[in-house]
């Protein structure tokens, strides 16, 4: 019943989402649910944009699943090939800098010596509140 309610909710979305959620794609493993998609888009701040992108993610996950066949009992994860060496640390002295003007030149919106950003305490609207994007 909950699933049906969610499905009805999904159907009311505008744009491309309606296209893919109502079709049952036989290849989909079901791992990439609508919630996962929304969660990923929120975390990455990058959108899928189309059904093909979701299908590609599914394929990528299936590909990565092949790792399960490897026996890694007792193996430590490797972060870097140089793990046996000490990282070099510089001494904490300022030796260069003072190029604020050069750095500010690359930014689009600048006021005096500040980078200008839109207000930060507004979270991205949830999917059913969003306007449909136009595709590039």
């Amino acid at each position: 019943m909950w699933a049906r309610a969610v499905k009805l909710g999904l159907r009311s979305w505008v744009g491309w989402r309606r296209g893919f959620t109502s079709k049952a794609d036989p290849q989909r493993s079901g791992r990439v649910t609508a919630e996962v998609i929304e969660h990923l888009e929120r975390l990455a701040l990058v959108d899928f944009g189309s059904q093909e992108a979701v299908a590609r993610l599914e394929k990528a996950i299936a590909f990565a699943d092949r790792l399960r066949a490897v026996d890694t009992d007792g193996v430590e994860p490797m972060e870097s090939v140089l793990e046996d060496r000490c990282l070099y640390l510089r001494s904490d002295n300022v030796v260069e800098g003072n190029c604020a003007e050069e750095l500010l030149q690359n930014a689009h919106r600048v006021v005096e010596e500040y980078f200008v950003a839109p207000p930060g305490n507004i979270s991205l609207p949830k999917q059913d509140e969003q306007e449909p994007f136009s595709h590039i």
Binding site: V32, V36, H39, L40, E41, L43, A44, L45, V46, D47, F48, G49, A53, R56, L57, K59, A60, I61, F63, A64, R66, L67, R68, A69, V70, T72, V75, E76, P77, M78, E79, S80, V81, L82, R85, L87, Y88, L89, R90, C99, E102, L103, Q105, N106, A107, H108, R109, F115, A117, P118, P119, G120, N121, I122, S123, L124, P125, F133, I136
Partner: protein, 436 residues
Amino acid sequence: MLKGYVPPYNATVVQKLLDKGAVLMGKTNLDEFAMGSGSTDGVFGPVKNPWSYSKQYREKRKQKAHGENEDSNWLITGGSSGGSAAAVAAFTCFAALGSDTGGSTRNPAAHCGVVGFKPSYGLVSRHGLIPLVNSMDVPGILTRCVDDAAIVLGMLAGHDPKDSTTIQDPVKPFTLPTFADVNKLCIGIPKEYLAPELSSEVRSFWSKAANLFESEGAKVIEVSLPHTSYSIVCYHVLCTSEVASNMARFDGLEYGHRCDINVSTEAMYAATRREGFNDVVRGRILSGNFFLLKENYENYFIKAQKVRRLIANDFVNVFNSGVDVLLTPTTLSEAVPYLEFIKEDNRTRSAQDDIFTQAVNMAGLPAVSVPVALSNQGLPIGLQFIGRAFCDQQLLKIAKWFEKQVQFPVIQLQELMDDCSSDFEIEKLSSVSLKQ
């Protein structure tokens, strides 16, 4: 995403070259953010392989003349540093820099008939190299001969205080001596690299190369790298995860492209990144974020790190058993036409084409692709040598000896032949290069 960006500083490798008097000819094209194995997904369009226009290739195609438009079936350069390889192959410059995270320097080097060298991880500074996978990236060197690569390496190698992952051991510039002790060498041929998709021509050149070493007295043995078949999967997980993190810095606020939305920071970031990144990059970011989700972290990311250790250990075991250098193919076949390459998507192609090159990045070892001969279609084929960690000089010595034995032909481009009065002049241009 970096449209209009003018870097306020030079990368260490660039600065080092400029300090030694190099003349910067320009910047070359590549796959967007070095993601791809064909140099077809860049913002400036795909890169064409200069060999598509060579006399050697054109003559072979005339034999199968079909009356098709000569320019429509041009070949890819391989990737992702295809522009750099094409620039060197077309005699535009003496040397070019690329990046190598999964084979991005060696792959186009093999397709364009130039030397593509990947230094040991930690030998050359990554300061200024836009990071893709911090634990595997290195700047790559593309040149027309191994001597040139050694000269460039001599200038670039060494500790950089701005990159704490560079090793602190002192490095001296060197000239490559002529290698005389081939009969003391032990060459390893990894049996798992005999992939079913390997073209018969590449396989036969690989075989001939092994026989060449054997005939000179070297010991050539078959070795095993058991986890080879998992390396591409492991790379896929680690790469996308690190990419998800590294691409987070591109938000439009301090540099690069910025969209017009001003409702909120998050909305601005999301729209900027949608506009600024192409499908390939976005796909990798999203995959990476998936593998890094709390519920997936252990099963995917940590698992891939463990598999990475197994792969690196495979190499350590082989080198500990007395092998000096490994000899493998670089690519599955010669360069393919663009129209054929784009039939599959970027991820599939990368998974297919990186198969011989990316395990080396996992282990941080030095490797070099040396052009061997022309295929039946008149296109270059390269073979790869993999050396022990930080034994880059020895690796290049062996590669130089091999290069001298195979005498890879110079590309015959019409413009070049018009400028130079004789074949001898062209030869001189290619091999003398940096030496006066």
